[in-house]
């Protein structure tokens, strides 16, 4: 039973496998609208495709991304500066292309149509470019989409794609009304994120217009004008990081002792992305089936409700029962939050202390004002003195406390100045005494001599690689989605997935053939076969037996389960269970004994 949840929000383990007790858990659903400028400038042909096609590519990417990672979120696309007017409120030159809905296969395929051909036929036939519009109307349209959405939304965000750094052309009213509407939306917790479309030759000065319009949107922790991306890949990265607001997993207090408390948000910089589980469909209509679980007594058939049941553990043949609430009570200790216990030098954080992925904490002025100030001071001194803070950490009401090491983290940026790791503290989970396993040390360890180490060094130098966090995609997950997508979009073949986890043996051989050979020659005797020593010949063959005769003699019990299973396969018998007795029963029956 996991206590944390790196998955899709919610405290699932609070209800574990309790039969019948499937209360609907409110899961936050977010809304994302892509607002795309369709004025003529967006269609200028460039090396990497027009800005319009780049924006559509981003939209396709964002839709697929939503489908893959948050498929309950709502997604919409709005064009502005179109010749046509297609929106429920008849705002001029605004077109709602995709209503705010859960995206699906048609979302992706419809969007892809816009960039099927270089002449943008689909676009020209249905929308067309114009150069007059009111930005405030575009904002109104999006705002209405959000408010008419049938589901209660968590975050609401607009990504605005444009290449125009001053659409007002000096028109004060245009600017003021846009700014007023943007301010209004900000008050209603709708974010607008500007994605400037630029090339190296077309500068984009956000000060001209956008900074003033989006002035109210500067949240404490986020900038609302994305770093201008010049390449397609950069742009995709920007979209990926901006398409969802950074949401703290939880916000809680960090207690330094006594009543000195600051507030922090806890974030998951990294979480395991898993393959979504399969669903059951009715094969005649493809509709989803609801699953109902129930528990009943074997003897009487009486259906049991959660309150009829208890949790039990068996030790030395004795059942010991607890109410579920009692188990929660055993986990509870103290308040939710982080409680400082002291500081230790970094070297006391041993390399093998790892039981679960780390989390990240960042100050929360909204909880306690002054938090950022104190947090920054702690960060600064911990960095300088190379110490970590040891805390007791209770993440939720029914989670038991764990110990975490708060490790100071400096901000890291790449060459373009894009933030890679924010400044703050990582919370590294420490193991308990119970979690260490005794492993026998290697007896009489053999250590390499300096020549051998030298050869290894040569090998290492010739096989040097960079490593970045987002370098390698999960091949199993990618394959799964490629397959689902291929069927959903009715494609002949799924997109080919390259397994980036596989070593490029060819390239390695090329780069390191000499070092590999020297290493091999020095360390491996010519007659050495890896792994051969242990086995000592081919695996033992199954003794020649006549199962039928053995069955008659009642001697089947002498055979191992593995062999019995093989026999079953040979004579095509399916035992009821996997226990030895079941298999022998089945075989006896088969041979008529």
């Amino acid at each position: 039973m996991a206590d944390f949840d790196w998955g899709f929000g919610g405290d699932e383990d609070d209800f574990d496998e309790e039969g019948g007790d499937f209360r609907a858990q409110p899961v936050q659903r977010d809304g994302l609208i892509l607002l795309i400028d369709c004025s003529k400038a967006m269609f200028t042909v460039r090396d990497e495709g027009s800005f319009f096609s780049q924006a559509i590519n981003c939209a396709v990417g964002a839709a697929r991304n939503k489908i893959v990672s948050n498929d309950r979120d709502m997604f919409g696309v709005v064009f502005y500066s179109t010749k046509e007017t297609k929106n429920p409120n008849d705002f001029k030159n605004i077109s709602v292309v995709k209503n705010l809905e859960q995206p699906g296969a048609d979302t992706v395929s419809d969007l892809e149509k816009f960039i099927e051909d270089e002449d943008y036929e689909e676009f020209k036939d249905n929308y067309g470019s114009s150069d007059t519009y009111q930005l405030s109307d575009a904002f109104w349209t999006c705002s209405n989409l959000f408010s008419n959405c049938s589901t209660k939304l968590g975050q609401r965000r607009i990504l605005l794609f444009t290449s125009d750094d001053d659409p007002s052309k000096g028109n004060k009213h245009f600017k003021n009304s846009a700014a007023a509407k943007a301010g209004d939306m900000s008050e209603n917790k709708i974010d607008i994120m500007l994605i400037p479309m630029i090339t190296s030759t077309t500068p984009f000065d956000e000060k001209k217009f956008w900074k003033d319009v989006l002035v109210n949107l500067t949240d404490d922790s986020e900038e609302f004008i994305a770093n201008a991306a010049q390449t397609r890949r950069e742009l995709e990265n920007v979209i990926r990081s901006k398409a969802h607001k950074q949401r703290a997993q939880t916000k809680l207090s960090l207690n330094l002792g006594g009543d000195v408390e600051l507030s922090v948000g806890v974030y998951n910089l990294i979480r395991t992305c898993t393959k979504p589980s399969a669903i059951k469909l009715y094969n005649k209509t493809n509709e989803e089936l609801k699953t109902t679980r129930k528990a009943f007594l074997e003897e009487t058939g009486e259906v049991l409700l959660p309150q009829d049941m208890k949790k039990s553990l068996k030790f030395a043949d004795r059942q010991i029962c607890f109410e579920p609430e009692e188990i929660n009570e055993m986990k509870r200790y103290g308040d939710v939050g982080m409680f400082l216990l002291g500081f230790k030098p970094m070297k006391y954080l041993k390399k093998d202390y790892h039981v679960r992925p780390a989390q990240f904490i960042y100050p929360d002025e909204g909880g306690t004002s002054g938090s950022t100030n104190l947090f920054s001071a702690l960060l600064r001194r911990c960095l300088k003195r190379n110490v970590f803070a040891l805390c007791r950490f209770t993440a939720r009401k029914n989670a038991f406390p764990r110990f975490v090491a708060l490790v100071p983290q400096e901000e890291e940026r790449d060459e373009q100045g894009v933030q890679q790791v924010p400044s703050g503290f990582h919370a590294i989970f420490l193991p308990f005494s119970d979690d260490f396993r005794k492993i026998k040390a290697v007896e009489d360890p053999i250590t390499a001599n300096s020549d051998q180490v030298e050869a290894a060094k040569q090998l290492i130098s010739s096989l040097n690689i960079p490593f970045q966090l987002d370098m390698i995609e999960n091949p199993a997950l990618q394959t799964h989605f490629a397959n689902v997508e291929a069927i959903a979009l009715d494609r002949d073949m799924p997109d080919k997935v390259t397994d980036l986890t596989k070593p490029d043996v060819g390239a390695m051989m090329k780069r390191a053939s000499k070092a590999l050979k020297e290493f091999g020659d020095l360390l491996f005797p010519s007659d050495y076969t890896p792994g051969a020593r242990k086995r000592g010949g081919p695996p033992a063959k199954r003794p020649k037996v006549d199962p039928e005769e053995m069955a008659r003699n009642g001697a089947l019990g002498k055979l191992t389960v593995a062999i019995l299973k093989e026999i079953c396969a040979e004579v095509n018998v399916k035992p009821k269970g996997t226990k030895k007795a079941d298999i022998i029963d089945a075989l006896n029956k088969h041979f008529g004994v």
Binding site: A105, S253, C273, K280, L313, Q319, L374, F432, L516
Partner: protein
């Protein structure tokens, strides 16, 4: 394969001297029984295969195989060698009482050794045996057989531990460290001096201990390392594979899990009235139609979601599309240590990589890589596939060399895939002079503040030097036990004896391990005050969970005040309201209905009037700010919701009042289109038929909701101040 287990004979002296006080006012026998009980519990809950027997010396009856008329009397094998059972625990707790029989403890050791020998002979799996003697060694002792006894213990490889010996008062205790860090034995100041008999006994024991493995402990020393429950130990099994580098280098390795969270045995759900009865669980699948028609398994097909699109998969599809791989451990390359940081580690465990056992070639090859990595400050990026049926992972091998222990190894951790990484961009904190920006300047700590934080860190250092200059680490993970498991075992033991009583709270020892130590608390007290003075901290909103936490968790304080558990809110109560409470404080224009309902659903205080006022405000704004009829539908929704809530709360007066003034304004400001909508939607006055509180009759209500009858409105118009209020709102 038979597992490795130990045979343990506990020899307990129940003679008269054990009935005297040990430390505090408990007798030595009681202390011994507590220790034995704990030893047995630890065995039981860790589901140990070890076998334990209990031999009483000084017992009234004589029951052992060596006894005859004049020797080995008053010694009884109370529980023969076996795995620990509940009756054994109950026996120890309830059925042992002191006697007047003084018996030679050496005889007890002989009986125990003989018992261990006879019970383990010919049985598989025993790898060691040990006698634990609980005695103050005050009884008579005959040392003429001493050498023979020592010899036979040594040849049978039986270890001896003696518990209950009083600490020496004259000799210094320095070279005897308590078995696990922390406080030493508490020496009672007014201890009775040792009798000559005890001194002789100790000499004899020490003589034996010179030859065989073992140690003498006081009760407090023993308790020190017994008082934590033990989790089930996991026998490490090797994951065997070959570390491949390109094509031609293959190093056979054995990888073991070194650190992984220990969990309790899984709970089983049982029928409360009869835990032994069998519960059948069944799941059925239904169509989403009115009858909820059940669908049979053969009519079902597996599918996956592609957003809102449902994609069916046939069995063939599934087979054809399965991702395949094979067991492997392959080097992708070597990279600088700085590129891999521990916050990136995924998975739930640390693995250790050793060379294949007994393979010297593999050992040298792996050693050369470990050493080279260490010297070059590199780590290895690898692809790991546990088995053919599992999907591949990427991971990192980090060298770990301990020259003193002559130990070299790689640690392995999983690394994240691109999909697992969520890019969070957060404003730079002013943690150095270089990182100060216009934006964060206001948070910049001053020099004074930094000094205070430095002082705090100094006062709270957990690694300190003792008098000898030795470094002592407080709160070391190896000494900190999983608090949930500790309590679980404690409660299990409690519940096993008594099924009705409430569960015990956390033990003092557990609390101590979870809290700031007294030393640190004292040392940091002044510094904390300074922090409070120099850093202005002001709570803005209650952090989530805080309010409930105050009520639920502060067990100690509440108990002290005597108003304990009844006030604890049940968990379920808090959850939903908690979620909704968040943020919704105002009714906005975007989702006014939801906001309205959310505020009403806040159970912690009554905000009905407040919410109604806000929704009225919002309706007026929506109607009169609307260009044309753009926002009318939204305003209608609000009005409908407001009306429904009015009925629910049976407070129709304000609503009716509002409706009158609204109608008036609509006519004045020429928003008759909205009035028409209200008529269409039948959003009229709440009448007596609908709510008893209303003073409006059905006829009046019908009248109201017609096109224009101005006089009637006037007749029943609301008091004047309300109309003014309404205009103010507009």
């Amino acid at each position: 394969m038979a597992s490795e287990k130990e045979a343990i004979a506990i020899v307990l002296d129940v003679g008269p001297s054990m009935d005297s006080a040990a430390e505090g006012d408990r007798t030595k026998l009681q202390e011994s029984i507590d220790c034995i009980h704990m030893i047995l519990q630890r065995k039981l809950f860790s589901e140990s295969k070890d076998e334990v027997s209990l031999i009483l010396i000084g017992s009234d009856e004589t029951a052992n195989e060596l006894a005859d008329d004049d020797s080995y009397n008053n010694i009884s094998v109370a529980r023969p060698l076996a795995t620990v059972t509940w009756p054994f625990l109950e026996f120890v707790q309830n059925d042992i009482s002191p006697t007047d029989n003084e018996t030679d403890f050496l005889d007890g050791i002989v009986v125990a050794a003989d018992h261990l020998r006879s019970q383990t002979m010919g049985k598989r799996g025993f790898v060691s045996s040990k006698i634990i003697l609980f005695s103050d060694l005050a009884g008579p002792v005959a040392d003429n057989q001493l050498d023979a006894i020592t010899k036979s213990l040594k040849s049978a490889d039986i270890a001896l531990n003696v518990i209950g010996v009083d600490p020496d008062e004259d000799e210094s205790d320095e070279d005897r460290k308590p078995p696990q860090g922390g406080a030493g034995p508490s020496t009672a100041p007014h201890r009775k001096p040792k009798t000559p008999q005890q001194k002789l006994g100790e000499k004899i024991v020490n003589h034996i201990l010179e030859a065989v493995d073992g140690e003498c402990y006081t009760f407090s020393e023993t308790w020190e390392f017994l008082s934590n429950y033990q989790s089930k130990s996991v026998r490490p099994t090797a994951w065997k594979c070959q570390l491949d580098i390109a094509e031609n280098v293959k190093i056979p390795i054995n990888a073991y899990i070194r650190v992984k969270e220990a969990k309790s045995k899984g709970f089983k759900t049982v029928y409360a009235k009869d835990p032994e009865s069998t519960i059948i669980r069944e799941s059925t699948h239904h169509l989403n139609d009115e009858e909820e028609t059940e669908v049979e398994r053969k009519d079902m097909v597996q599918g996956h979601r592609y957003g809102s699109t449902l994609v069916p998969f046939s069995d063939e599809d599934l087979q054809a599309m399965k991702f395949r791989s094979e067991k492997c451990f392959q080097v992708l390359g070597f990279t600088s240590r700085e590129n891999v940081n521990r916050y990136m580690f995924m998975g739930d465990s640390t693995m250790i990589v050793h060379p294949e056992k007994g393979d010297e070639v593999a050992a040298a090859a792996l050693s050369s890589l470990i050493k080279a990595c260490q010297q070059m400050n590199k780590v290895v990026i690898v692809r790991r596939c546990y088995s053919a049926s599992s999907s591949p992972k990427i991971g990192v091998l980090e060298p770990d060399i301990d020259e003193k222990k002559n130990r070299e190894r790689f640690f392995y951790h999983d690394l994240p895939f691109a999909e697992d990484v969520r890019r969070f961009t957060m404003s730079t904190l002013p943690y150095s002079e270089e990182t100060i920006t216009d934006y964060n300047d206001k948070f910049k700590p001053s020099d004074d503040q930094l000094d205070v934080v430095d002082g705090l860190i100094d006062s709270m250092m957990l690694v300190v030097k003792d008098e000898d200059g030795e470094k002592i680490e407080e709160k070391k993970p190896k000494n900190l036990f999983n608090p949930y498991l500790q309590r679980l075992y404690h409660c299990l033991n409690h519940r096993a004896n008594d099924t009705t009583e409430a569960l015990p709270g956390p033990s003092d020892r557990l609390v101590e391990s979870l809290e700031m130590s007294e030393r640190v608390k004292e040392a940091s007290n002044n510094q904390l005050k300074k922090v409070k003075e120099t850093f202005p901290l002001k709570r803005v909103a209650k952090a989530k969970g805080k309010d409930t936490a105050d009520n639920v968790f502060n067990i100690e304080e509440k108990d002290a005040e005597g108003e304990s558990s009844e006030k604890k809110p049940r968990m379920d109560d808090v959850e939903l309201s908690d979620l909704q409470k968040e943020k919704v404080d105002k009714i906005g224009t975007v989702t006014p209905v939801e906001d309205f309902l959310a505020i009403l659903s806040q159970k912690d205080r009554d905000r009905y009037d407040e919410a109604c006022e806000m929704i009225r405000e919002r309706i007026i704004q929506l109607v009169f700010d609307s260009f044309g009829s753009q926002l009318f539908s939204k305003a209608i929704d609000c009005l409908r919701a407001y009306r429904a809530q009015t009925l629910k709360h049976s407070e129709p007066r304000d609503f009716n009042k509002f409706l009158f003034s609204l109608k008036e304004s609509l006519f004045q400001k020429n928003k008759k289109a909205f009035w028409k909508l209200m008529i269409e939607e039948k959003l009229g006055l709440v009448t007596k038929l609908e709510s008893e509180e209303s003073s409006v009759t059905k006829a009046e209500g019908d009248d109201f909701l017609t096109e224009v009858v101005e006089e009637k409105i006037k007749e029943e118009a609301p008091p004047k101040e309300d109309a003014d209020e309404l205009l103010d709102m507009m």
